[in-house]
């Protein structure tokens, strides 16, 4: 099914929940995530540590440990991949859907060369000869713009710099032409001059190959550089979803506003930073109602009693806030003094 049905989104995640139950603890890491991804679209999940953004990606890739209790549906081209047997899932991983990570040093096997690892993946999935796979590996390294690619194929991961390793990991992820790429903070460990190179490369590859990307980051600037749409995640839920421009320019959810306000950007010298008071909730014991209510300057009694339902103010936008109608969509700068 190369093209499939246009009405069916490429990737659809419905009511995804993930709980980690172990040794008396019960952590609700993801609490009902819904999204769909069209072909060639870049969706960024923006959130702070512990918000569940990486866990959502790993659940989609089937990389969570056995004690993780996963519910909901993850449909790739209309097929629910959560109910697939392991062997079937292994066939999809790497060929239809693939993933890149924050730390390429730990994602590669240190005892094989880059070339061997890329060829291995191609041989496994496509059953072609090692020699042909080696040729493809060389093309892939050239595609991700690694200089002197034929020499680099013989490098072990530790012989490469951080930026080169990340390029090599992208080459590995693209080896079998996946239609969906999951990117878990792939530029966070890189220097700023290298980060922008990787972002530009991903943007270019995405356009050339027509891949869809789910990009996870905590960095608003990175999200603004790469995304078509942004989903802001807090305490295991998407609290606001929309196109990149309205989310960055006129965020509506109090958490999104707080996050943008507390991000230091250029030309803010001398200003007192507006912060979000308190800390994110402990997901082993989440607060009742809206999880952001204890830190929210606009919270009412109703916010604590009831989990705010998702509302859809405009096509393609979603908001979970009981006070959405009262809060005037203001520019990020003019909002909330947290006290």
């Amino acid at each position: 099914m190369p093209d499939g049905n246009f009405a069916v989104p490429l990737l659809a995640v419905e009511d995804l929940t993930v709980r980690f139950k172990r040794r008396g603890t019960d952590v609700a890491a993801v609490n009902g995530v819904n999204f769909s991804l069209a072909r060639g679209e870049v969706l960024t999940i923006l959130g702070e540590s512990g918000s569940g953004k990486s866990v959502s990606l790993k659940a989609t890739m089937g990389l969570l440990p056995d004690y993780a209790q996963i519910d909901g549906k993850i449909k790739l081209d209309g097929r629910d991949i959560l109910s697939l047997p392991r062997a079937e899932l292994a066939k999809l991983r790497g060929s239809a859907i693939s993933m890149i990570f924050q730390e390429p040093m730990t994602a590669f096997d240190p005892v094989y060369t880059i070339g061997e690892q890329i060829s291995e993946t191609i041989v496994q999935h496509e059953g072609i000869s090692r020699a042909d796979a080696g040729k493809r590996a060389l093309e892939l390294l050239e595609r991700v713009k690694i200089p002197s690619a034929s020499r680099r194929l013989k490098n072990y991961p530790h012989e490469m710099s951080g930026g080169m390793r990340q390029r090599a990991m992208i080459a590995l992820a693209l080896a079998c032409n996946p239609s969906v790429l999951l990117a878990d903070e792939p530029t966070t460990a890189l220097d700023v001059t290298v980060q922008i190179q990787i972002l530009l490369l991903l943007r270019q590859l995405q356009q050339e190959l027509g891949m869809a990307i789910v990009f996870v980051t905590h960095d608003v600037g990175v999200a603004a550089e790469i995304s078509d749409r942004i989903a802001v995640m807090y305490a295991g839920k998407f609290v606001e979803t929309g196109d990149v421009r309205p989310i960055i320019r006129a965020p509506k959810h109090p958490y999104t506003r707080g996050l943008l306000n507390s991000t230091v950007h250029g030309g803010m010298r001398g200003q007192v930073l507006q912060t979000i008071p308190g800390t994110p909730p402990n997901m082993a014991d989440p607060p009742p109602g809206c999880a952001f209510a204890p830190r929210c300057a606009h919270a009412l009694a109703a916010c604590v009693e009831q989990d705010p339902p998702a509302i859809f103010p405009a096509p393609g936008t979603m908001l979970r806030c009981l006070r959405a109608a009262d809060l005037v969509p203001a520019r990020a700068k003019e909002t909330d003094d947290a006290q």
């Binding site: 951080g162 603004a224 550089e225 996050l259 507390s262 230091v264 912060t275 979000i276 008071p277």
Partner: protein, 355 residues
């Protein structure tokens, strides 16, 4: 009776306001790389090479640069957690660690450091109040008084002592632990605090809280900060003056506005151009630099940036550029903007301006 009530005179202040709090001259640290059967020195990492700067009383000096540029090694050399190969430190007029100067311990009482990793810099087997009280107790304060001071400090960094004093590091969040580290650094009433990527590991909403705290503490205790970070926006936000480092050397220094509005070194310009924008309609279209920073083992001769510089010429490989006023600016004695670049065209970004 205080004759000058308007000036909060610090009895430890020796040279007055005009004398820099810390002067660093020719600081150098080369690490040997050993290998082979006889474990001989086969190469040298030139981590910090001939770095000189001064920190003025009451200012925040920001040091910015990418990994491997020597910014953290510089901090460790200042604290003497590493011994420099050469270079002099002068703390408020007193040479450090030499005859007729002050001892390293005496300097450390006035200079404290906060590290990036809030967890590994606290002893996991001590409660936070014990950690904070440790240094004052070692320096002669009675244990009971040291603990009382620790609790006061906890309150000042925004942690209620009744709730937090007896907790262990693993019972705190990252932001709370970094507050404890700040309290511990302040326990000896230092005059200079070195913040080495102190907010880099924190989430943005927590980072903003800690930056606000640092600003308040600076005003309250008349502190001087040396703020080391890779985050260009945060360095701009906190610093009065900025030092840009590349592969172990200072490439540009000056007042924060001058550096950020009018960067002269081709590296500084590329660094700023690499910052992600916050405007989806003005996304970065071209890479400001290609490749990674070179390995500081056997760095390029002459100007260390020349291998990645679009303007590089023969002279750049031959001579090490010295820090000097940019070609189009007069030497400003009070707030000098200095750049280490041979080429006027490179300093002007390849465009010749006529004022």
């Amino acid at each position: 009776m205080d004759i000058f009530p308007e000036t909060r005179a610090d009895p430890r202040d020796r040279g007055g306001k005009a004398q820099p709090l810390l002067t660093v001259e020719g600081l150098t640290k080369h690490f040997p790389v050993r290998g082979g059967v006889l474990n001989r020195r086969i190469a040298t990492v030139q981590a910090v090479d001939d770095v000189s700067f001064s920190v003025r009383k009451g200012e925040t000096l920001g040091i910015v640069g990418e990994s491997g540029c020597g910014k953290s090694t510089t901090a460790r050399l200042l604290m003497r957690l590493l011994d420099p190969d050469s270079g002099n430190l002068v703390f408020d007029g007193d040479a450090v660690g030499v005859e007729r100067g002050i001892s390293i311990n005496a300097m450390r009482r006035q200079m404290q450091m906060v590290f990036q990793d809030s967890y590994s810099s606290l002893n996991p087997r001590m409660t936070v109040s014990e950690s904070i009280a440790y240094a004052p107790h070692m320096h002669g304060l009675a244990h009971k008084d040291a603990l009382a001071r620790a609790e006061t400090l906890l309150g000042q960094v925004g942690l209620n002592p009744r709730q937090y004093a007896r907790r262990y590091p693993h019972e705190l969040s990252g932001g709370q632990r970094q507050r404890v580290n700040i309290a511990r650094a302040l326990a000896l009433e230092p005059r200079l605090v070195i913040l080495d990527e102190a907010v880099s590991a924190l989430d943005k909403s927590v980072e903003a809280q800690v930056l606000n705290l640092l600003r308040d503490l600076k005003a309250e205790y008349s502190l001087t900060y040396l703020f080391i970070s890779h985050d260009l926006n945060v360095v701009e936000y906190v610093s009065d003056r900025v030092l840009v480092m590349y592969l172990g050397r200072v490439v540009e220094t000056g007042p924060v506005d001058s550096i950020y509005r009018n960067p002269r070194h081709p590296y500084t310009r590329a660094l700023f151009a690499s910052k992600p924008t916050l405007d989806p309609d003005r996304r970065t279209a071209e890479m400001p630099l290609t490749g990674d920073p070179p390995n500081p083992i056997n760095p390029p001769s002459g100007c260390r940036f020349r291998t990645r510089c679009a303007f590089a010429q023969a002279v750049c490989a031959e001579l090490v550029p010295v820090l000097a006023a940019p070609v189009d600016m007069a030497d400003d004695e009070d707030a000098p903007h200095q750049v280490a670049c041979h080429l006027p065209t490179a300093q002007m970004g390849g465009v010749t301006h006529h004022a």
